[in-house]
Symmetry: C2
Subunit: 263 residues, 2 copies
Amino acid sequence: MLMEGVDFELAQIAPERVGRKALAVSLSDLAAMAARPLAAFVSLALPRRGGLQMAQQLYAGLLPLANEFAIALAGGDTNSWEGPLVINVTALGAVGARGPLLRSGAKPGDAILVTGSFGGSILGRHFDFTPRVREACLLQELFELRAGIDVSDGLSLDLSRLAQESGCGADLDLAAIPISADAERLAQQDGVSPLEHALGDGEDFELILAATPHEAERIIQTHSLAVPIRRIGQFVPQRGLWGIQPDGQRHPLQPRGFEHPLT
Amino acid sequence: MLMEGVDFELAQIAPERVGRKALAVSLSDLAAMAARPLAAFVSLALPRRGGLQMAQQLYAGLLPLANEFAIALAGGDTNSWEGPLVINVTALGAVGARGPLLRSGAKPGDAILVTGSFGGSILGRHFDFTPRVREACLLQELFELRAGIDVSDGLSLDLSRLAQESGCGADLDLAAIPISADAERLAQQDGVSPLEHALGDGEDFELILAATPHEAERIIQTHSLAVPIRRIGQFVPQRGLWGIQPDGQRHPLQPRGFEHPLT
């Protein structure tokens, strides 16, 4: 569910990009479980004035993505009110023969793999990213993945959630983390390091995967993916998140990212 | 999708009833297609202050209904903001061997059947109704239904939609329409006739069904339903909606009910 004033400002972002993102974040949730998308249900709370045009713009952004992933827009609800724009997408998918990819299957010794690069998505990528559906389904079919999650709230926070669900901890090779050009650019603006941006910004909508070292090596050698996959560390018996410096020093790492405020 | 200020006022309605209704209206949509409910996905935009308690109250109303119909709450999204409360429920169902009940299958000569009674739901029934899921699934399994719809926007408006999708018109026996006690009570308050309330109020969440006269007779004789079913007219070749007076006079009837404003 994306809400005006929280997830976007209509003064800054075209409705087409909002509509596209509303579907894309749900497809990323399906990718996190290695589910093939089948259908989506779209509910709208539109402004009473200009709502029809707004709906057309939202769908103009949403439909090409739905077509790209061959999913049916199978239902939903269209409303108008005096309140801010709200768009909710429920996406439905089907898992393959190996079942869903869960957060709970990582084992100490497993490699930590990630797709793409991290940080600075606020500069625009958080609207225009490609959900890693094809990558997740292909990898789940061809390899033995142990666990997975998508990075919506922050690389370090989402990794710590996966580790926690799996009953283990995680060592992150800090020098191995793929840092996006956006993180570098943002660092020049705000003085926060590119690595910090990569670890905590969130909304990268990349995948974190767990696999045995042998399987991880095979995955990295695969040439059939449109996005690079890198190994950024390993799962360990000791609970918690740990940063490994290039000189081998190991220190606790505070998971950072977007925590959903609710009191 | 139910929205504070449009579908309810929190000053007047306990959140438990809002949560229950959000699921119930979606179950009524499944009933309209004779689908057995399987799962529901709940998305919330909660107030930032008091949102946790609000969520608990919404679910306290929603969960008993989910249990009554044995459906899983299988996902969703929980958010907070400074805006009004929004709750969206997407319900998933499965159709039986005869497939879904559609709006488009009524034929001239078919009887018009309805469950329950109509009008005045604003007095409270529009929150506390029982979606006609069991009735729809049972009837679809045991009899040959031609078409169906649930009454959300108004008996005459939703009937005219079904007739239009079926490419025919409908004769309504005005004296046969089951009028609820709420419609009688509301009529005493506002001077609008009970019949007018029954025809146009909406949010009755009863079923309108089409069946051959023979099948309709068999359905009416069924004793296994918890709700009365009555015949209120028939579908006719001439497009439009027609009211039949007890003396046999026939005049055009303007479909009335809630039209969704969007400009």
